[in-house]
C-alpha cells in the first residue's frame, strides 16, 4: 500500500497518472494469480469440466474455472478499503493498467505451464499433467498459440476487471449483475427448463446458453439493474428492517405466505429431477436448522452433529423395517402399517433427545474447542457402533437396514420413488423446525443462549445456569436432526453406516456458516445454494459435474467466509456485531462517537454502541 497514511483532513481525491501504480502490489497479486491458475489447471478442473457448456460453443465450465480468477483479481488489485477520514485515490486508467498487468502476469503462469507440460513428462506424481491439458490450454492450436493466447486473454480479463473501477457505481453494479445473471441462467438450465418447458429455446441442444440468448439475458439484466431494480429491492429490504410493530408483522406474514405458496407450487410444475433435488435440499435444510440452534444461537461448535441424524435414521429404520437385525426382542414392534411412520417419528424424537442428553452431558462443561473435538469423536463412535459386528444383530452392521417402508399416512404416502411427496413432508417438518427455532430464539431460553454465546462467564455471573441452557441447545438440536433422519430413512428405503461420515457434519456446518450463523433465512439460503447447486456429501446438485471438486470448493468457501465474512451471507444482526466488534469500535471512534479518552474501556464502548444501534429481540 503506497499512500494509506492517515490524514486528519477532509477526504480528498488524489489523482495520479496511468502508470503510476503500485508495482509491488501488482507483482504480488499477479504471482498469486499465476499460482492459483496453475493450481486450478493441475487439479484437472479445466479438462474435467470442459464437457459442460455455459455459453455454446465457446465458454465451458472448465474454461470458466480458469477465466474468472483473472477478472476478479484484476478488480481486487485496485480495490482499497475506504476508511473514513482517509483520502481515497481517484479511479482512472491506472486501475485498468494495474488489472491488465496482474492478468498478464497470471496468464504468463499458464503459458509457462503449457510449454512445460508439452515438453516434460511429470505425469507420474501429477495426474493431470496430460496431453489433454495441453490441447485444452492451447485451444487445439500450436503450443506457441496457447502461450500468447493466455497472456492476452488473462491480461484482457484483468483489464476488464480493473476497468470496473472506472465505471460509475451504478453501471458497475449493473455489469456485475448482468454477468451473474448469464452465469446463473446457464447453471440453472436443468431447473429452469424443468419448471417451464418453453424456456428450452434459450439453450443449445447439447446444453449451454446460445450466443444470442446470452447477449439478450445480459442486456436485459443490465437494463433491469440500471432502471433501479436492484436499488428498489435494497430499499424494500431496508424499509422492512426499519419497520416495526404491526407493519413489520404484516410484511413478515406476506413474505411467509408468498414463500409457502412458492414452495407448494414449484414441485407441482417441476419434473422428478428437480423434485429430488429439492427433497435433498430440504433434508439438509432440516439438519442445518437444528445445527443452527446449537452453533448459531448457543455458540457450541458441535462437529459430531451427524450422530443425531444417524440415531434418527436408525431408530426409524428399526421401528419400521421388517428387515432390521434379528436380535430385537419381539416387543419392539414393526410399524409398517398406515400411520406407523408417525409413531416411529415420535419414538425417534424421544431417542434423539436421549442421545442429546447422553452425548451432551459429558461434553457440556468442556472448553469450546475441546468440545468440538470430543463431539467429533462421539459422531465417529456412534457410526462405528452402527457399523460394528458387535451390534450387527441389531443394526445389520455393514449390510445396513433395507426394505424400510415408505411413510404411510393413510390418506397419502410419502415414498422415495415420489420425491414430490418427500419434499412436502420435509417442508412441513421444516416449517415446524423454523417455528420452533424462531420461538426459541425470542424466548427467555434463546436470550440465555445468546448470552452464553457472547460470554459464558458473564452469563453465569448473571445467574444463568449455563450447563442446563447449553444442554437444552444440544437436546433441541438433536430432536430437529432426528426429523431429518426419519425422513431420510423413509426416503432412501435403506440405511447404511456410510451415510453418516464426519463429512456430513462438516457439510452441515458449512451450510450454517455460509448462510449465516444464527439466522434462519441464512440457513435456508445456505442449504439451497450449497446442496442445491454444488450437492451434498452423497447427493448430486444442479452442477453434477462438480461432484469431483465440491469438497475442495467447500473447503475454500469455508476459509474465505471465515476470513472475509464470518457472519455469513445473510447475517444475524447481533452475531455480526459480535464478530466485528473491533471494526465497529474503530468506525465509531473515527466518527467521534466514542469517547477518545483512554479511560473508556472496550466493554463500555460496546455497550454505548449497542445502545446507539438499538437491539432487537429484547423485551416485547
Amino acid at each position: 500500500m503506497s499512500a494509506v497514511t492517515a490524514s486528519t483532513g477532509m477526504p480528498t481525491a488524489v489523482s495520479k497518472g496511468a502508470f503510476d501504480v503500485d508495482w509491488r502490489q501488482i507483482a504480488r497479486t499477479g504471482g498469486l494469480l499465476a499460482l492459483g491458475l496453475v493450481f486450478i489447471a493441475l487439479t484437472g478442473m479445466p479438462v474435467g469440466l470442459d464437457e459442460r457448456t455455459v455459453i455454446e460453443p465457446w465458454l465451458s465450465l472448465g474454461l470458466l474455472s480458469l477465466t474468472f480468477l483473472p477478472f476478479v483479481l484484476g478488480y481486487t488489485v485496485g480495490h482499497e478499503k475506504v476508511l473514513e477520514g482517509v483520502a481515497a485515490k481517484a479511479k482512472g486508467a491506472r486501475d485498468v493498467v494495474a488489472g491488465a498487468a496482474v492478468g498478464a502476469l497470471g496468464g504468463l503462469g499458464l503459458s509457462v505451464l503449457v510449454v512445460l507440460v508439452d515438453n516434460f513428462d511429470l505425469r507420474d506424481p501429477l495426474v493431470n499433467w496430460s496431453p489433454q491439458l495441453v490441447e485444452m490450454l492451447s485451444f487445439d492450436q500450436s503450443v506457441g498459440f496457447g502461450f500468447v493466447a493466455w497472456i492476452a486473454i488473462s491480461g484482457a480479463l484483468g483489464a476488464a476487471g480493473g476497468a470496473l473501477h472506472v465505471l460509475p457505481h451504478q453501471v458497475r453494479r449493473a455489469v456485475v449483475a448482468a454477468i451473474l445473471a448469464v452465469l446463473l441462467t446457464a447453471i440453472f438450465e436443468s431447473f429452469l427448463t424443468d419448471v417451464i418447458d418453453q424456456l428450452e429455446f434459450l439453450y443449445a441442444s447439447r446444453g449451454g446458453l446460445t450466443n444470442v440468448w446470452a447477449v439478450v439475458v445480459f442486456v436485459v439484466a443490465m437494463a433491469v439493474s440500471l432502471s433501479g431494480g436492484g436499488e428498489k429491492l435494497g430499499e424494500r429490504r431496508a424499509a422492512y428492517q426499519a419497520a416495526s410493530g404491526p407493519a413489520k408483522n404484516r410484511q413478515t406474514a406476506l413474505f411467509i405466505a408468498a414463500f409457502s405458496l412458492a414452495m407448494i407450487i414449484i414441485p407441482l410444475v417441476t419434473g422428478k429431477i428437480t423434485q429430488e433435488l429439492m427433497a435433498n435440499v430440504g433434508i439438509f435444510m432440516l439438519l442445518a436448522l437444528g445445527l443452527n440452534i446449537v452453533v448459531g444461537l448457543a455458540g457450541i461448535l458441535d462437529l459430531g452433529y451427524v450422530a443425531f441424524f444417524a440415531v434418527g435414521g436408525y431408530t426409524t429404520a428399526v421401528l419400521t423395517s421388517p428387515n432390521r437385525g434379528p436380535d430385537w426382542p419381539s416387543w419392539v414392534p414393526t410399524l409398517d402399517g398406515p400411520g406407523g411412520w408417525l409413531i416411529a417419528l415420535a419414538v425417534t424424537i424421544v431417542m434423539a433427545i436421549f442421545a442429546g442428553l447422553v452425548i451432551g452431558a459429558p461434553v457440556i462443561r468442556m472448553r469450546g474447542d475441546y468440545l468440538a473435538i470430543v463431539t467429533l469423536g462421539f459422531g465417529e463412535i456412534i457410526r462405528l457402533l452402527f457399523l460394528s459386528d458387535w451390534l450387527g444383530g441389531y443394526f445389520n452392521g455393514a449390510q445396513g437396514i433395507t426394505n424400510i417402508p415408505s411413510a404411510d399416512f393413510g390418506i397419502f404416502e410419502v415414498k422415495g420413488t415420489d420425491p414430490r411427496s418427500v419434499f412436502y413432508l420435509v417442508m412441513v417438518l421444516a416449517a415446524i423446525s423454523i417455528y420452533i427455532s424462531w420461538r426459541l430464539e425470542h424466548s427467555r431460553l434463546g436470550r440465555a443462549w445468546m448470552a452464553v454465546r457472547e460470554d459464558e462467564s458473564v452469563a453465569e455471573a448473571m445467574g444463568i445456569n449455563t450447563v442446563n441452557v447449553k444442554l437444552m441447545a444440544f437436546v433441541v438440536g438433536a430432536a430437529l436432526a432426528s426429523f431429518a433422519g426419519a425422513v431420510f430413512s423413509a426416503k432412501v428405503g435403506s440405511i447404511f453406516p456410510t451415510s453418516f461420515l464426519i463429512l456430513v457434519s462438516i457439510v452441515i456446518l458449512v451450510i450454517v456458516i455460509v448462510g449465516g450463523m444464527g439466522n434462519i433465512v441464512g440457513v435456508m439460503v445456505g442449504a439451497l445454494g450449497l446442496v442445491g447447486v454444488l450437492g451434498g456429501p452423497k447427493q448430486p446438485g444442479l452442477l453434477q459435474e462438480f461432484s469431483e471438486y465440491k469438497l475442495l470448493i467447500y473447503g475454500a468457501l469455508l476459509i474465505w467466509m471465515m476470513l472475509n465474512r464470518p457472519e455469513g451471507l445473510v447475517p444475524n444482526v447481533r452475531r455480526s456485531r459480535e464478530l466485528h466488534q473491533d471494526e465497529f469500535l474503530q468506525d465509531a471512534w473515527l466518527r467521534g462517537e466514542v469517547d477518545r479518552d483512554e479511560s473508556t474501556t472496550e466493554a463500555e464502548a460496546s455497550a454505548n454502541l449497542a445502545d446507539g444501534l438499538g437491539t432487537n429481540g429484547g423485551a416485547s
Binding site: M45, G377, E548, L557
Partner: protein
Amino acid sequence: MTAAVRAKGAGKTNVDRFLTVLRVVMIGFIAISLVAFIAQQIAPENPFAEWRHGDEGATRLSWAQYRGLLVTGISQGAMYGLIALGYSMVYGVLGFINFAHGEVFMVSAFTGFIVSTKFDAAGWWEGAAFFPAIIITVALCVIVSTSTAVIMERVAYRRLRGSPRLIPLITSIGVSFFIQEAVRLVFGPGAKGYPSNPDWLEERLPWLGIEVKKLVVIIIAAIAMAGLWYFVERTKTGKAMRAVAEDKEIASLMGIDVDKTIVKTFAVGGAMAGVAGILWGILFRSVINTTGFLPGIKAFTAAVVGGVGNLGGAMAGGVSLGGAEALGPLMILEPWGIPGVSQLRDAVAFTVLILVLLVKPTGLFGERLSSEERA
C-alpha cells in the same frame, strides 16, 4: 472461571450426578475388564469367560503376541506424539486447535513418497546409497511440511488473531479439507506405495524379536523430541516462545516480535510433523490423501491426554494413546465377549479422550497454558 463459580455454588446439579455415575461406570467397566482379562490369561475356562464367550472360548495371547502389540502401539504412539507436539505448541501460543495440522503431516508423507520413488527409480533406495538418499528425503520432507505450516499461518490464521476462538478453529477445518482435496485432485486418488525398504530395516532383532524399522521409528522420534526440548528450553527463541505462550502483550513489551515467534512456532510444529510423515512412510510404506485426518485428530487426543502445552506430556500422551489403541480392544472389550473388537479401535481412542477429559481434564501430566486460555 466456570469451575470456580461451580465450587462456590450450592449443591450438585443433575448433570454432576450423571457425570459421577458415568465416571464410576466407565472406570468400573475397565477395571472388571482388566481383571477378567488377567483371569482368562491364567485360566481360559473360568466362569466369567465361559459366561461371556460360550463355546468359542476366550482369547489367550502369548508373550510374543503381547510384545508385538506393545511395540506396534509404541511406534504408532511415537508418531502421534510427534504430531501432537505441533498441536500442543500452537495451542499453547495461540489458544486454538489447528485442525489442519494433520494435513501438514500428510503433505510430508506425500513428499516422501514422491522423492523416494524418484530415488528408487535411480537405484538409490537400497544398499549404501540409501543413507544419503534418506537424509535428502527427510530434509525435503521437513522443508515442505515446515513451509506448509508457515504458509497456512500466513494465509489463513494471521488475519484471525483476536477473533473469537472458534473462528480460527472453523477456518482450520476448511484448510484441512482444502489441502486433503487439493492433494487428491493434483496427485490422484488412491493409495500411493513407497518403494520397498532395504532388507535390514525389515529384519527383526534376534534377541527381542522387534522389527528394526519400528525400533528406528521410536529412536528417531525420541531424538526429535529431545532436540525440540533443547530448542524450547535452552535457546533464546525457545524462551521467546514460552514468553509469548504465557502472555502475548507482556512478551511484546519485552521486545519480543510476537508475529515472528508465532511463525517460528508453526515452523517447529511443522518440522516435527514432517519427521513423523517420513517415519510413517517407512513404517507403513503407503500414503493417501486422508492419511493425515484421523492420525491428526488422534494426535490432538494425545496432546490432551498428556496435557496441552506440555511437550513431554504430548510425547507421553502419544505413546499412551498408541498403547491403548493397540491393547485396549483386546484387553478391555474382548473379555466381554464382544466380537470383532478391532473394528472399534477408533471408538476406543475417542473414549480415552472422553475419559481423560471427564476424570482429569488437565491431562495426565498437567497443562501449561496462559491464564487467558484456561478461561
